[in-house]
Each structure stands twice: as C-alpha cells, then as structure tokens.
C-alpha cells in the first residue's frame, strides 16, 4: 500500500461534477455554469478566478476538479506548498489539433498564442496552480497507465518534508479526476486504488 492517501476526490466528466463522499452530483450546460454551481456549494470557499475564461477546456476541467477535491478534503485554502501533477496518456492531442488546424486554416501565416500555450501538457496543472495559488512543483507525467509508477512519483514527491499535499489530476480527454493526496497510509477503498493498470488515459 502506498504511504499516502486520498483526502479529497472529485470527478469532472464533460459538464458534470461529482464528489462521491459528499454525495454531490451536478450537471450543467457548460463549464462556466459548472464552475458557478460548484462555487455555490456550502463546503466550497470563494475563489477569484479572473483567468478562467482564457484557459482551454482541459485546463478548465482541471481547475474545477481541483477546487472540488480540495474542498472535499476540507483543505481550503490549500497550502502553497502543494504540488500539482497532471497525468494521462494523451498529452494534449486535442489541443494540438486545435492549434494546428487553426494555423493551417489561416494559411500558415501565423498561429494564435493562447491556442499554442494550450498545447503544452503541463498547462492544465499550471493553470490549476495559478487558480489555487500553489507554489509546489507543477508538471505532467505519463507512466503508460501504470498506477504503480504514479504512486512512485507521489511517494517520491512526499520525500520532500516541506511538501504538504499533492493534487493529482488524471485526464483522459473527456474526464478529469482530481485526487487531493496527503501523507499517511492508504486504506482499502481509497479512490486511488480504483485505478486499474492501463488507467490514466485513452
């Protein structure tokens, strides 16, 4: 069993948010409305998110999932000494297509900066760190869907005694799951243990 556990967990699938331990299930018309609905929950604190509009879809899902997972953990605000780790198997394929198709349709005369930034797989964790004011490490990993290597990464991050929490954002394109992870032995039934081999992406 890993030497960390899930203190809070949430899932965003398209325009639906779930926090199972709180029996929360919200359906909205779009991600803007979904964010508004999430921010109205009584256990979610206020956030000022002026840059939410600018972010790509994957980043928006990451931010909402992270807010809900942190609130589910009762860790609001999260310590600045929190790492944000994105994980998946798809990098930013949809964002790559979005940028490239737009560039080609414009006669290859120039790209759009905000679409280009979205092509970095590390942008969703970075946008999440910005939204939640988190100053620990933020980056993206791909372990070929091997949850034992994700666990190795998380346990190794906790080797840093200053680090207080890790937000793990698993994305497979249509769904983002956020795990708010802290030190301490994992118990049976922890949501992290539900990741089968090959999990973490399409």
């Amino acid at each position: 069993m890993p030497d960390f556990h899930t203190a809070g967990y949430a899932k965003i699938h398209e325009f639906r948010a779930e926090a199972p331990s709180r029996r929360v299930r919200i359906q909205a018309e779009n991600l803007y409305d979904l964010l508004d609905e999430v921010l109205m929950l009584d256990f979610v604190p206020e956030y000022d998110l002026p840059k939410f509009k600018r972010a790509g879809e994957r980043s928006k899902m990451a931010v909402i999932a992270a807010i809900l997972a942190a609130a589910d953990a009762g860790m609001t605000p999260l310590s600045g000494k929190t790492a944000v780790i994105g994980a998946g198997r798809d990098g930013s394929h949809q964002e790559n297509l979005l940028y490239w198709d737009d560039y080609v349709q414009n006669g290859r005369s120039g790209g759009r900066g905000h679409l280009f930034v979205g092509t970095l797989p590390s942008t969703p964790p970075s946008e999440t760190a910005i939204a939640l004011n988190l100053h620990g490490p933020s980056y993206y990993i791909d372990t070929l869907g091997d949850p034992s290597r994700i666990a190795l990464e998380i346990e190794s991050l906790f080797d840093d005694p200053e680090l207080e929490a890790v937000l793990l954002l698993l994305n497979d394109g249509s769904e983002t799951r956020a795990f708010c992870l802290v030190r301490g032995a994992m118990a049976p039934g922890d949501p992290f243990l539900s990741l089968p081999s090959g999990e973490g992406g399409s």
């Binding site: 297509l97 490239w100 930034v117 970075s126 490490p137 980056y139 190794s156």
Partner: protein
C-alpha cells in the same frame, strides 16, 4: 545518511552536430550555431534563424527525432540495466498533424523512445521548458531516497513548424542571433537538441564500476502561480527554487549559475532579479542559449552537460553574442572565458506556466 547521486554517462545532439564535444568546444569558442531554417518557410514569422542540427534530415519514412534518438541509444555503453527510464519532452513531433488521425504528442514520442532505448516502462515528464531539469531532479530525488538505483534520463525537442509558429505568435522570437542578458536583447532563437544523462547511486556505481563525471548535489522545483506565459519578473519563486537546490550551501560555495537565459525581455529580467537576490555579492552567470538556442525540453540537459564541462575545465565559457550587459547583469555576465572558482554550478530552467526547476551540479569530489 547522505546518498550521493552520481552522473555516469552523458551525450548530446545540438545545433553544433552529433556528439557533445562539438557543442562544448562551440560554447567555449563563443560561437553560435544559428543558421537559416530551410525545413519550412519562415518569411511570415519575421525571423528565420534556428540552431538546427547541421546537414541533417531524417530519411524518408522516419520522423525527425527517431534517428537522433537511435544515435543516442547507440552511444550508451555503460548504462546499468536496472536504470529507470525518464523521458522529457514538451510537445513532441506535433507538426505531422496534417493527417488528423496521427497522434504526435509527447506521449507518443515517449513510447517511441522506450522502443529505441529497449525499455519496457518509464515516466515521461513534461514541464514546458523546465522539462529536463524536472526529469533530472525527480530522478536524482528517487535515487537519493533509495527508491531507484539508477536512471537513464533522455530529453529531446526540435525546431518544427508547429513550435516555430507558436513562439512567433507570442512575439518571443528574435530576428537576429539571441543575446541573453544583453541590454538590447530582442528575443529567443529556437534550437534542436536531444541528449541523455545516466544518474546512479554510489552502490550502483561501485557494482558496475561506472565512470563518474560529476554529481547532482541538489534540486528545487517551484511554480510562480501567477501567469501562464509571463514569469514573475521579481523572480521570487525562482529564487526559492535556487535556495532549495543549494540546501545548506552558502552563496560563496557556488562558482557559476548557468541561467535559463532565453534572451527574452521578461525571462532574463526575472533571472537577473532572482540571482541578485540569492547572490547579493554577485556570482558568475552565463546562458547556453546565445549559442545553441532555446531547445525547450533539451535545455536543462545541455546545461547540465555544460556544467560538467565547466567543472572539468575549471573555466566558464563566454556569454555568446553579449555586447552590453543588461541592468543588474553587469557583475554577472561576461563575453570572456573566466576561471571557475568554486566546484558547484547551478543550472536554472523556467517554463511557461511558471515552472521553475534548478539543479546544483558538483564535481565528483565535492
């Protein structure tokens, strides 16, 4: 008990060509490797330079990086079998997207690399332009805490139309050779790069009688959490990453800072502030990007190998293309070869999203 992290193998491909010797000689000669791009049209971008691998094009049917990675794998004669595979990339070979059925992501490049290096599993790290320092830091941390015995860290990126158009769209590129830390710097120049480092614990070094090129003495990774493209020009989180990497070392223990030094206004200003904050008495500083360009995920790996060369030669390569130091950098940078006075070198990376990653490299006796 301290568990030292040793560097036991290194290799590079850059705008100077295949092999790290040509790159190191170029850096110390103060000669840049920039040339006019011919692999795609550039008229529309207002800039046309890049540090591309000279006289290289992939054979028909091969992607750009496959033969380059195969070259690197072929140089690897002393990597322990138990080494975990760590791979660093930003976007991958994304300019093959004209066929939308293709999936050319960092992840697909990672899978390709696993095959080329004959590994069954590993971890891809993508942290924008800090990717290779992040991968090296994570590998070193796992070795120091005895989670893994050794790591093969591979990083690569190249000058594709995808990336070139993207940086042009952000008005980040210079129409002339990049001039990091110069008063009149005008932006960055991109470059091709791929490289590898092997890191190993002391026990692994002894078990396989591996050569020792140097040590990774510390690391620090932080996030600005301010803006997705612009750094915190006060350099607060970069300064924090530097201090974390230095651990209990004093500023006087550091002989050189190899900065990220892209040549853009804001990056260089941020680093000047951060370095002056941590080193109020000054410290020699230099950037490789005036010579090899900004190689994205390759940047930290080039810098680490440059640090090993600096430690070996006992000298600091000159700042290529420097004419007039920027305000605050006057005591830090020089266009001349300088002696290295302390046996520890910091290597800094900063990436989009505010990712800061710093390594402290040491000679093997430190």
């Amino acid at each position: 008990m301290k568990n030292d992290v040793y560097i036991t193998a290194a290799e590079l491909v850059t705008g100077y060509g295949f092999g790290m010797a040509s790159c190191m000689d170029g850096l110390f000669a103060g000669k840049h490797a920039f040339r006019t791009i011919t692999r795609f049209p550039t008229e529309q971008f207002g800039c046309s330079l890049a540090a591309t691998i000279p006289d290289y094009a992939p054979p028909d049917g091969r992607s750009f990086l496959e033969p380059v990675l195969e070259y690197l794998a072929g140089t690897l004669t002393s990597s322990p079998e138990e080494a975990e595979f760590f791979f660093a990339a930003t976007i991958g070979e994304a300019d093959c997207l004209d066929n939308s059925g293709n999936r050319w992501t960092a992840d697909t490049l990672f899978e390709k690399s696993l095959r080329i290096f004959r590994r069954r599993n590993g971890i891809l790290y993508s942290g924008a332009c800090s990717s290779s320092n992040i991968a090296l830091a994570r590998a070193a941390s796992m070795i120091r805490h005895r989670r893994i015995p050794a790591a093969l860290v591979v990083a690569c990126d190249y000058v594709s139309e995808f990336v070139y158009s993207g940086f042009a769209s952000l008005s980040a590129m210079s129409p002339e050779p990049a001039r990091p830390f110069d008063l009149n710097r005008r932006g960055l120049i991109l470059g091709d790069a791929a490289g590898l480092l092997v890191l190993a614990s002391e026990e692994t070094v002894e078990k396989h009688s591996l050569p020792v090129l140097g040590k990774v003495g510390g690391w620090g990774i932080t996030t600005d959490a301010l803006h997705v493209t612009a750094p915190d020009t006060e350099g607060r989180q970069m300064a924090r990453a530097i201090r974390i990497a230095m651990g209990d070392r004093a500023p006087g223990d550091i002989g050189l800072v190899i900065a990220h030094g892209t040549g853009t206004t804001f990056n260089d200003e941020m680093e000047i502030r951060a370095v002056n904050t941590v080193f109020p008495e000054g410290v020699p500083m230099v950037s490789t990007k005036g010579a090899v360009g900004h190689t994205l995920a390759g940047a930290g790996l080039i810098q680490a190998i440059a640090a090993l060369e600096v430690l070996k030669r006992g000298g600091i390569f000159p700042q290529t293309n420097l004419q007039t130091p920027a305000p605050g950098a006057e005591r830090l940078v020089s266009d001349e070869v300088r002696p290295l006075k302390k046996s520890r070198v910091l290597s800094l990376n900063a990436g989009f999203g505010g990712c800061n990653a710093v390594l402290m490299l040491e000679d093997s006796h430190a």
